[in-house]
Amino acid sequence: MAASLNRASVKFGNFTALRDISLDIEAGDFWTILGPSGCGKSTMLRLVSDLVPPASGTVEILGKTTEAARLAREFAFVFQDATLLPWRSALKNVELPLEIGRKRGINIPTGERSPRELLELVGLKGREDALPHELSGGMRQRVAIARALVCQPKLLLMDEPFGALDEMTRDHLNLQLLDIWRETGTTILFVTHSIPEAIFLGQKVLMLKANPGRVKDVVEVDLPFPREIALRDTPQFNSYCARLRALLEDC
């Protein structure tokens, strides 16, 4: 089990952001999370990544507490904004996780792939020395993905990472992300507000409901891998879209 939540709730003061979330996420799965805005999609990722504490209930990652998992670098986070440090080159940004946390006695796990190889994996070979402002939005997000992979996390949390990108770039990065998922075998939790993206990427789509955030449904996407862009024009794909849209309107 990569992550399991047991009746977990999150409160911000009097406001209940998430209530009674119970989920078991199998190792190696690709989950996408959909829901109306303000339903706590991002909060759920922050709960799993030890950024916000549960008000009640428990969250475990690979059988450890979220704090222990954070200290062991079991998970990594990719934000909507690439959050690269603008004064560091692409390569130096990817190396950042290897430089931080040493003083706290954290045993930093280094993956099989070097930062240079990871940049190659995300298709940025030759741009190692470029500063973030010299890269396009899509390239910056790929650097952020490479940075997330540098400690070889078992769980990758992604908060609308392609939300600010144009359609073409987004399609391209979706395919690349599926390749990375297949190659690394990591578990992925991917928040999005695009129904087609949720279906195209996920094995399971978690639908959340707003006020307070609760689990509405988990939809298994029974479409074959490896997936190609053409899959999106098939009737099966469209019937999933229709089904999820109906669910979403019902939230």
């Binding site: 670098r73 998970f75 440090l85 603008p86 004064w87 931080i100 946390g101 973030p132």
Partner: protein
Amino acid sequence: MSVTETAVENVATERMLSAQSRTRLVNIAIPLGTAVALLLIWQIGVRVFEVPIYIAPAPTDVLHVFQTDFALLLRNFWPTFLESLAGFFIGNMAAILIAVAFVHSRLVERAFFPIAVFINTIPILAIAPILVLIFGPGMTAKVVIAALICFFPTLVNMVRGLQSVSPQTLELARILSASKSEVFWKIRLPSSLPFLFSALKIASTTCVIGAIVGEWIGANVGLGALIIESTFNFRSPLLYATVFVSSGLSVLLFASVTIAEKLIVRW
């Protein structure tokens, strides 16, 4: 055929290059020409209306002073230069350290920020005599005044710069289990550099003003002292020359800060 094509292309690129260099030349020529024209009008105006030299000297008179009294100007340049530079370093260093303390402790900020604002509201001309009384007629008072004038803009900018890190970047730091000192050295401090350099550019010109104001109150060397002396003795050409040297000193410090910024802040 292809040869003529390349020839045509060559001519085109040459034309483009010459057009580029022409615009560059025009960009330099326009302000330079305007300055020369103004100096000419000044020169002709002073001569035609026969303005006495102690009221308004002609540019040539000022130029003449630069030749005859260069040693005098230089002798008074160095003290002001040193006071400005020392004030610049001390004032900015204090501002940076206090900004770091403010960012790390809300209590320190709440205790000392109002005091910093209060000190900043006292006109530098009003506080200068007090400082000269305290520190005596030597260099110290001038350095302190120059430091004081640099202090506040740098403090405000540096606090903003250290706080300019996005919430997501701080979340990233937390996920990486970064310690407070790592967040400071690897994230906050580099983030603040563009803000710091904006403040240093302001300080590089104001520190000269501080040093000169300090010299007005009580000094026998320095550009400020020379300004007072030449005014009282009606040596207007010398006064004008001193003013030019003072502004030249500001330009020198400003240019140094700008070059340092270009080398350090490359993003």
